[in-house]
């Protein structure tokens, strides 16, 4: 009888090229996703060493980080340094014979949105990208993690990464998530409990009834932010929800191959009796909408709570961090979260820029008007998401409410393009990081779900979306 294995161990073990005691494992990579910001130096390194891209057929590129989101500037970028980075990616893809999902192709978008929607990301795969939110793809039961540029170069040259085997953690969430909450609230709640480094060195498997009943897009949001508690990756075992999502996607297996693939994918689930290095159980049925108040994703409280007081810190180091965060965020301890007013709202990113996220925001905004002091940017995660949203008329709901409907890209999540906050502007953002300066120098970011962001856009301050007056 075989030793019971976790989902992670099954995927890891089936990709080991070489293992030596005391050395990192050489792990084979099935899918390598590439974008313009973290790849130019890797291609340059290959050229200098006279090396080639080993598997251009397993390497796919798109343009997302730098791209402006206005229709006029999209094809005519004013920022010459950004334009050069994009031109460099195009050249590199062409000379390596790698597919590029370019702007206007109908397939361009945030790398972690297009991988899944094209069916490139599949259960049991190893996936890497020079971007920490590669953990997103773990929603399919793939082992997916972010790598630096030297590792991008390593994968281009060898189709392998050299990795120390991570430890395993299972987070089991029971119950059903209450109305008005989402997997974004769930993951923010997990991060605030674990802390920003509680997952360091681990691959997390999310399990339990609450996770099983999430849609694929919700699972992606959950796995996406695994990196924010330091985890190497997040994973969810594939099931019928996964197979239904993948069926018929452009790069999904078809016909007989499909049936064989599904058969194999079913065997990936963690075996009964498999051991994890750490186990955590949570009750999802008491989840509340969560809002970050500070400068890392772990600094978060329920929307009904108040900005915490540094006196409550467990030690000096935490107290100093809280005081610095409050100072940066321009907040007073004890202020009710619902009293915090906003200047900007951003709906989008690899965390919450998919169709269901836009539906959730549109449902809140329908029939309402955006508050006169608030500017709202809605940025679909990909060209395909944008088209699908427009077919449903979501764009009209956003525009009629007074929001701006933009072109796809990473946009204000990291502000590498022109979409940034002005100093001291306060933003409710559906993205993944509230670090200092992330959305613009001295900009103040509060991470929330799409529904909470949309409600705040209307009222001009945070409001508990569980009591929202929806209009038909």
């Amino acid at each position: 009888m075989h030793k019971p294995k976790t989902l992670f161990e099954k995927v890891w073990d089936s990709h080991v090229v070489m293992e030596c005691e005391g050395e990192p494992t050489l792990l084979y990579i099935d899918l390598h996703l590439v974008h313009e910001v973290t790849s130019p130096q890797a291609f340059e390194g290959l050229r200098l060493a006279n090396r080639k891209v080993r598997r251009p057929d397993l390497t796919f590129a798109t343009i997302d980080h730098n791209i402006p989101t206005t229709s006029d500037e999209r094809f005519q970028i004013k920022d010459q340094v950004a334009a050069q980075q994009i031109a460099t990616l195009r050249r590199n893809c062409e000379s390596a014979g790698m597919p590029l999902f370019d702007v206007g192709s109908g397939r361009q978008g945030i790398v972690h949105v297009i991988g899944p929607e094209l069916g490139l990301t599949q259960p049991g795969m190893t996936v890497v990208c020079g971007d920490s939110h590669t953990s997103t793809h773990g929603a399919f039961g793939a082992l997916a993690f972010g790598v630096g540029t030297s590792e991008v170069e390593h994968v281009l040259a060898t189709q392998c990464v050299s990795q120390k085997k991570p430890r395993t953690m299972r987070i089991s969430v029971s119950g059903a998530l209450p109305d008005g909450t989402s997997s974004k609230d769930l993951v923010l709640d997990i991060i605030r409990r674990l802390g920003t480094d509680g997952g360091t060195g681990y691959v997390i498997e999310y399990a339990g009834d609450a996770v099983r009943s999430l849609t694929m897009e919700e699972r992606m949001t959950l796995c996406n932010m695994s990196i924010e508690c330091g985890a190497r990756a997040g994973m969810v075992a594939p099931d019928e929800t996964t197979f239904t999502y993948l069926d018929g996607r452009p790069y999904s297996p078809r016909g007989e191959t499909w049936a064989k693939a599904v058969h194999q994918w079913r065997m990936l689930a963690t075996d009964g009796g498999a051991q994890f290095d750490k186990e955590i159980s949570l009750d999802g049925s008491h989840l509340e909408p969560i809002v970050t108040w500070g400068t890392n994703p772990g600094m978060a409280v329920p929307i009904t709570a108040r900005v915490p007081n540094p006196h409550e810190a467990r030690n000096d180091s935490e107290r100093n961090a809280m005081m610095a965060a409050l100072d940066y965020m321009g907040l007073q301890p004890g202020t009710p979260i619902e009293d915090i007013s906003l200047d900007r709202v951003f709906i989008g990113s690899c965390t919450n820029g998919r169709l269901e996220d836009l539906r959730s925001a549109a449902k809140v905004l329908r029939g309402h008007r955006v508050h006169r002091d608030v500017t709202v940017l809605v940025v679909p995660g990909s060209e395909a998401v944008k088209q699908a949203a427009e077919r449903e008329g979501l764009d009209r709901i956003f525009v009629e409410a007074g929001a701006q409907w933009r072109e796809p890209g990473c946009s204000m999540c990291l502000g590498m393009n022109p979409d940034i906050l002005a100093p001291r502007q306060r933003c409710a953002s559906t993205s993944n990081r509230n670090f200092e300066g992330r959305q613009g120098r001295e900009g103040r970011t509060h991470l929330v779900s799409p529904a909470v962001a949309a409600a705040a856009a209307v009222t001009g301050h945070f409001v508990d979306v569980r009591g929202w007056q929806y209009k038909e």
């Binding site: 130019p40 397993l58 599949q122 972010g146 920003t196 330091g230 297996p253 670090f435 992330r438």
Partner: protein, 203 residues
């Protein structure tokens, strides 16, 4: 990659926890296509005012720390974005080693790939070194990777633990791609044998 054997250098204290890579190298400086040119932008939002003038209160702008090559920092250093530009910026600025209670996973790998030594030290050791660096200016440490020790001239010394493969690579400045390519036969065999599920079915 520049090997790391023994290094003596000036210590700068930056005792914040969770120093993320967005702080180490803010996103407005990530648009270059070269590996160089990032050192001037290290911690740029902390180091400089919006108009570009240095902030006198930031540690690396102060006379005694400007030429520091060892940074002592709080836990979970390098969290957040995978941008290797953070390691490039630190190295180019002249930082050869960091001493902190813990590091984020991706940053740890990026640092190793750029000859930047990360020393994981007990909280008490980190506090002690930071305090020395704050009071005895200039404060220098000697880091000996071969013997895994840190020492100053006033009688302080401590040993540190580092995984043998990381130590080996740093000591010899090894090119990891070169090492992996010596296993070409194993990679090719894996590719032949693996019953791959990857099916690019698109016509």
């Amino acid at each position: 990659m520049q090997p790391f054997r023994k290094h003596r250098g000036l210590v700068a204290p930056l005792l914040r926890e969770n120093i993320d890579t967005d702080q180490i190298i803010p996103k407005q400086h990530l648009k270059r296509i070269e590996r160089t040119g990032f050192g001037t932008f290290l911690f740029s939002d902390w180091r400089f005012l919006a108009d570009g003038t240095p902030r006198p209160d930031f540690v690396l702008n102060q006379e005694h720390y400007r030429s520091a090559s060892i940074l002592v920092a709080g836990r979970n250093f390098g969290c957040g974005s995978s941008r290797e530009h953070a390691a490039w910026a630190l190295s180019e600025f002249g930082i050869r080693a960091i001493i902190a209670p813990s590091y984020a996973d991706i940053f740890r790998i990026n640092a190793g790939n750029n000859g930047l030594l990360l020393i994981e030290a007990e909280d008490a050791t980190v506090q002690h070194i930071a305090q020395q660096a704050q009071t005895k200016r200039p404060y220098e440490l000697t880091i000996d990777l071969e013997n895994q020790t840190i020492a100053d001239d006033c009688g302080f010394s401590a040993s540190f633990v580092i995984e043998p493969f990381r130590r080996h690579r740093l000591l010899h400045g090894l090119d990891e791609i070169g090492v992996t390519l010596t296993h070409e036969a194993e990679i090719a065999r894996f590719e032949r044998q693996r019953h791959t599920l990857v099916q690019n079915c698109e016509s």
